[in-house]
Structures are given as C-alpha cells and as structure tokens.
Amino acid sequence: MKLLNWLIAPLLALLSLTPAGAETIRMAVTTSFHNSGLADVLLPEIKADLGLEVQLLVVGTGQALKLGEQGDVDAILVHSRAAEEAFVAQGFGTHRREIMYNDFVLVGPRQDPAGIASAQSAAEALARIAAAGALFVSRGDESGTHKKERALWQAAGIDPTAAGPWYREAGAGMGATLNTAAGMGAYTLSDRASWLNFGNKGDLALLYAGDPALFNQYSLIPVNPARHPHVRADLVARLEDWLTGPRARALIDGYRIGGEQLFTFNAQPE
C-alpha cells in the first residue's frame, strides 16, 4: 500500500487548498476586449480601489450572452448593440451601460490584391474584395465582430456565404482568425485593439479604417438578479460606478499600444 500512500497524501494536501476569500464577481468579456490588454491595466486598479476581484471569462459575444442568460456570470461586457438590447429586453440583464468604444479595421495581405486601401467606405472595401474574389476569413462564431461583419456585408448588398469559396468561416476567436488570415494571405475584419496586440502579423497589414460604420461600442450589462438571485448585483453596481467614473476614464483614455490610443471612454454620468 506504499504506492497508495504516496499518491493520496499529496492529493489530500492539494484538495485542502481553497482560493483566497476576497469578494469576487465573474464577468464574461469578449476576446477582442481581452486581447487588447486593457483588462490587465484595469483589473489590478479595481482590486486596489474596490477590493473586488473580477474574474474574467474570455469568450465570444454569443457565448458571453449565453453565460449571462444562464446566470453563470454576474455581468457581461460585450460589443454588439442589437444583441445587447435584445438581452435586456428579454429580462436577462437589468440595463445596458455604455463604457467606451474603439473601432474595427480591415486587414489583409500587404499587396492588397483587391485594392481596398483606396475604398471610400467599408461597404465599398468589402464589395471590392467580393469582386476580386480575394480570400476573406470570417469569425463565423456569432461574436460581436462577426455580427458587425455581417452588417457590413449587408450594407454592401452582398451575401458572402452564397458568393463563393473565397469566403471562409473560421468559427474561432479573433486571435485564431487572425492566425488563419495570416496563414492564408486573406482579408479579415478585426477590432483595432486585437490587431495591434496580435503577435503573428506575418504579411498582413492594416488596409482600411475610419468609416463611422466601423465604430465599436463596448457596454456593461449586469445580469438580472430578479432572474438569478445568486448574482452579486451589489458588487456589479460598485464595478459599474467605477467603470463609468473618472479613474476608469483616465486609465481607458490613457491606454496606448505603440503610441496609439486604443479606446475612447464615453460613459455618461447617470
């Protein structure tokens, strides 16, 4: 039985360890927000100011909304306005509070075979990709970025899923999709933060940005305690106050990668 003793003693030691007992809430955030690196700046400050540990679940907007619906997180921070408003309207969230925005950019192979760099609008850029039949990688995962991309195709009057083999759905997060685009030499839509922070750019370059249609609003939605009594609505309210306050404004507006400002704080005081 010596063997068993060897195995069981450390196991008991392991199981007796419990996580620290600070006040914690769980928040589902989008991959694009997490990839920006802003969370690494905000979370330690939130912990210092509020004594609140925010545990992040980094998922696509579709999964984030689902986690909120099921009551598995206390709040969600996502960027897909129509889906957010539906979420609140169905009573899953108490309200929607705008925090900040950044923008989406079209990236693609440096040589720009479809010539989107000179397009007048995002819709025109997409139309040129379709006309050239150049490879385009879509997130294909019901994320906020995916929903934005579909809205842009619609604005361009193109149904890409029916248009041909140049349109590829990755069904993956922003980083994985950028990896795919880099590997295939394809165009894709990314939020600016993920793009700037992405480590495997390869031959990809930022080719088109600046159309107001590419505006990307992030909002906080507390999960409705009437539906899920166990959620920590009190702690979420404190987090919301902090995220819409002057401290968050300074940190969000001041966050830069390579000298570029990534997010613009636009929360309105209540």
């Binding site: 063997l3 060897w6 195995l7 069981i8 450390p10 196991l11 392991l14 199981l15 360890l17 996580p19 769980r26 991959t31 990839n35 545990q55 992040l56 679940l57 980094v58 619906e69 099921q70 009551g71 598995d72 993956a172 997060g173 922003m174 980083g175 994985a176 950028l178 990896n179 880099a182 922070n197 992405f198 480590g199 495997n200 750019k201 899920h228 166990h230």
Partner: protein, 234 residues
Amino acid sequence: MDGFAAGLWQAWKLIFTLDPDLYEIVFLSLRVTMSAVIIASAIGLPLGAWLVIKRFRARRFTIALLNALIGLPPVVVGLAVYMLLSRSGPLGVLGLLFTPTAMIIAQVIIITPLIASIAHQTMRDLWAEYHDLLLSMNASRAQRIAAILWDGRRALLTAMLAGFGRGIGEVGAIMIVGGNIDHVTRVLTTAIALETGKGNFAFAMGLGLILIALSLSVNLAIHWISRTERASVW
C-alpha cells in the same frame, strides 16, 4: 525551426526565472489531473476487474460501450458538464461551475472509460491464470477482485498513467467548465490555447514544452516510486 528554438528559449526563461504565474498554472494542472486520475481509478479499476470476473447478459455490450466511450470528444463532455453545473442546470445550486472541482468532474468522465478499459484488458489474462486457483480457494467476489487488482498492479499503473496522459493534455472540456479564468482555473493547456489565440506562438510553444516535460517527469517519478521497469523486477 525558428519557432521551436524560440519556444525552447521561452520555456527555459519561464522555468529558471521562477515565474510565479507559471508555477501556479503547473500546480493547478497537476492538481486537477491527479485528482481526476485518483477518482477515475477508484471507479475504473474495480469496474475493469468486475467486468473480468462477472458474467452477465450485457457484459459484451458494456465492454464495447466502455471502449467506445474512450473516444468521447472532451468538448462534448465539457458541454454536458457545463449544462449540469450551470446555474440554470440541475446542479446549479452547488455553484461549482468555473471552479477546479468542475474541471475534475469533467476529467473523471473523460478518463474513467480509458482506465477501466485498459484495466479490463490487462486483467483478463491474469484472471485466466488465477481462475481455478481462486475458485478452489472459495474466494468471495470482492476477494477475487482484490486479488487480481493487487497482482496486476503494475499493469494497472500503466492504465492510470494513460489516464493521466489523456487528462493533462486535455483542453476542450476544461476550457468550457473551467472558463480559463486567470489565477483560478487557468491550466497549461488552456493557457496554451489562449497564447496561440493571441499569436504569441513562442510563448505557447514554451508552455507546450513545459507540459511535455511535466508529463515525462510524472511518468518517471511513478516508475521510480513503484520500482517498475528495472532490470531485477519485470
């Protein structure tokens, strides 16, 4: 090969700078998978032995089912455990979702069929050898199970190590039920997936090399402790 060299360099740096985050992740990986292996063995080994000894109508089907379950996709197990443990699921009140416990539960489900199946296969031969002896000694069923489990312990260790291997490298299930929360449920495999997603290939590869090294050391340590694979003991 640049990627591998960079990965090796990253692994080296992480290990020798005593990166506290790395040690936390490694420790949690071990904690989750070892707990799962112990629990899965407590279920799977006796189950394997019982299937060797007991003859019943659905035995053949049970064994086939067990073998089929080895191929269960972890992501499906993860989804099923998520739906069980979700606040809106039947076990939601326990509040276990996104904790290491949830990850252990998922891994137990993934590993148990593998351990039970390998245990069953190795003990089948042993039973053929012991059958007459144990029956002539009028041993009870529990005694028979205990006897072949004990005498087959080295082969059973292989079953456990196979379970460990499947668990420690698994990402689909623990990503869903653990959530890959920093400092809470982040383990080596989910960290690798995250870093790959960020395009930090060298860092991800470094973590991968550490995972392989870890798995290797656990295997060697178990062999050393149990004194198997030595010249004098076969």
